[in-house]
């Protein structure tokens, strides 16, 4: 089985936000929720500005799963970190633990009350049967079950955002780095996959 990962090549990302839009459209993500976002560091500083597209990194030993009081997270055979909205109680703890700010909450219920958590699924749906209307309504598309990769990466016009088996995308990134003679680090990899070798 593959070990699915995201990799954003900050030397290529042009902050077009197409990945954000593609994700919202493909998964019919509700208002106020961004499963994916583009963050620009050193905005406006000549030569130092970098944009990075960030979503759930589908961590090894995921912090969200570790702190969840109801154990609603599970890891698929492709190492994608998913969760069950039937079990989630919307406590918000996964957001406190997540290094990447991936978990999102609709503003439902009493007080500042959070609804069921929503996050990037690597376009792999949820615990319901693959590609059923129930699965789509709760979790969005399940492209992985159709043999496709996440739409954000597939749509990326500069191919900055890579999604797929960790070894393959790491090899692609390494080749780029060797060819151009420099890189900017695979953002989040050392945090998300501490046991794997860097790229």
């Amino acid at each position: 089985m593959a070990r699915m990962k995201f990799l954003c090549d900050a030397e290529r990302c042009i902050e077009c936000n197409a990945c954000v839009t593609a994700c919202k459209n493909e998964n019919e993500v509700p208002w106020g929720i961004n499963r994916r976002r583009v963050v620009t560091l050193n905005d406006g500083e000549m030569g130092k500005e970098r944009s990075i597209s960030m979503a759930c990194m589908h961590c090894t030993d995921a912090p969200c799963a570790s702190v969840c009081p109801v154990e609603c997270f599970y890891t698929t055979a492709d190492a994608v970190v998913l969760h069950s909205k039937d079990l989630c109680i919307g406590c918000g703890y996964c957001f406190y633990a997540c290094p990447f700010g991936a978990p999102q909450y609709p503003q439902l219920g009493n007080f500042g009350g959070r609804g069921k958590m929503d996050k990037c699924t690597f376009c792999a749906g949820g615990p319901e049967a693959d590609n059923t209307p129930e699965e789509y309504a709760s979790y969005g598309a399940n492209r992985l079950a159709e043999g496709k990769l996440p739409l954000c990466a597939e749509m990326c016009s500069t191919k900055a955002l890579l999604a797929g088996d960790g070894e393959i995308i790491a090899a692609i990134y390494k080749e780029r780095v060797v060819t151009r003679g420099y890189g900017s680090g695979a953002w989040g990899w050392s945090t998300a996959y501490p046991d794997s070798q860097g790229v």
């Binding site: 902050e15 936000n17 954000v20 106020g32 961004n34 976002r37 583009v38 963050v39 620009t40 560091l41 050193n42 905005d43 130092k48 970098r50 990075i52 960030m54 912090p63 570790s66 702190v67 969840c68 009081p69 109801v70 154990e71 609603c72 039937d86 079990l87 989630c88 109680i89 919307g90 406590c91 918000g92 703890y93 957001f95 406190y96 633990a97 997540c98 290094p99 990447f100 700010g101 009493n110 007080f111 500042g112 009350g113 959070r114 390494k174 780095v177 003679g181 420099y182 890189g183 900017s184 680090g185 695979a186 953002w187 989040g188 990899w189 050392s190 945090t191 070798q197 860097g198 790229v199």
Partner: protein
């Protein structure tokens, strides 16, 4: 040639670091270029924040390393604090019960009772107590339920219980907070520490030794419970409301983490304190429960534990009934 390039790259890297500029670029042919990111995070000692074009400005935080510390607290430190405080208190109480047994009423029961807590006192106590019990059970469920209860009842039942528990926890915070405020107003004047408290503590409170020290309406032990409940309860309520209205009082995830840590530690310590309070108020001492049950305590109990207060009450009662001819004066 490769060596030269490596040396150059290392030199450049060191130069960039020395200038204190964020290290975004680093030569890639050295094995682990993501070290640059680690270096940057170590330099920043906090979240890596940029700019986003979406309305949610909290999304501008790209990486927040503090999440790992909070995770370590929640999965490591917090269960230890709670386990030691609550488990230790339970063990202590069992041990105490085995050694000392139920503290009997000195001189047995008399025919007379005096009023210790009126209706408002008792309403306040029980409103706070019932809220607190539900808050404690549902709160401890969030902390320990996954390890203790989930394997027993299965994920669906546990999630349903926890979801209902979260709602109960949110709503019962209001009667709890009201109870804390009422307690403060009703009982603060009898809970100001005095010199008598030192003597009471020196005498072991009559619980450890068998010698009774003088006490007014509340002794030093009861004052300690009062101030724990009022001060810790207020802090727990305040942190709880911050957690209930996420990102309204505190702006960043770091604030939410700190608030959650304070809330959980204080709550688990207060649960341990209240366990001792429940023990001494029920099985630990004969005649104690009546104070909050019917509100009337046996005269012998009052004279043993709160002699000065009992004198005051009787003096007052005698003054009030003194006008009536033939008022019974209890024989000493």
């Amino acid at each position: 040639m490769t060596m030269l390039r490596r040396c150059l790259a290392l030199g450049l890297f060191a130069l960039v670091l020395a200038l204190g500029q964020p290290v975004l670029a680093q030569a890639q042919d050295q094995g682990r270029p993501s070290d640059a990111e680690l270096q940057l995070m170590q330099q920043l000692q906090g979240p890596v924040t940029g700019r986003v074009s979406i309305p949610d400005q909290r999304a501008a935080t790209l990486i927040q390393p503090a999440g790992k510390e909070w995770r370590d607290f929640w999965r490591g430190t917090s269960p230890w604090i709670g386990g030691i405080a609550i488990g230790g208190m339970l063990a202590l109480l069992v041990l105490f019960f085995l050694i000392r047994g139920r503290v009997p009423m000195e001189g047995g029961r008399s025919d007379e009772t005096i009023t210790r807590f009126n209706g408002l006192d008792r309403f306040t106590h029980w409103m706070t107590a019932i809220s607190f019990l539900v808050l404690a059970v549902t709160g401890l469920n969030i902390a320990f339920g996954r390890d203790l209860l989930l394997p027993l009842i299965g994920p669906e039942a546990f999630a349903a219980f926890s979801d209902a528990g979260k709602v109960a926890h949110n709503f019962l915070s209001f009667p709890f907070t009201l109870g804390i405020l009422l307690m403060l107003v009703l009982w603060v004047r009898d809970n100001i520490p005095s010199r008598l408290d030192l003597e009471w503590i020196a005498a072991g409170g009559g619980l450890i030794g068998h010698r009774h020290a003088h006490a007014r309406r509340f002794n030093a032990g009861q004052k300690a419970i009062f101030w724990s409940v009022v001060l810790m309860g207020a802090a727990i309520a305040a942190t709880g409301y911050i957690l209930m209205f996420p990102f309204t009082v505190v702006a960043h995830v770091g604030g939410m983490q700190t608030t959650q840590m304070a809330h959980s530690i204080l709550s688990m310590i207060l649960v341990a304190i209240i366990l001792a309070h429940i023990y001494i108020g029920t099985i630990g001492m004969e005649g104690a429960f009546e104070a909050m049950g019917s509100g009337k305590v046996d005269l012998n109990w009052a004279e043993a534990h709160h002699d000065l207060w009992a004198e005051e009450v009787r003096a007052r009662e005698q003054r009030e009934t003194g006008a009536a001819p033939g008022a019974a004066v209890p024989a000493e």
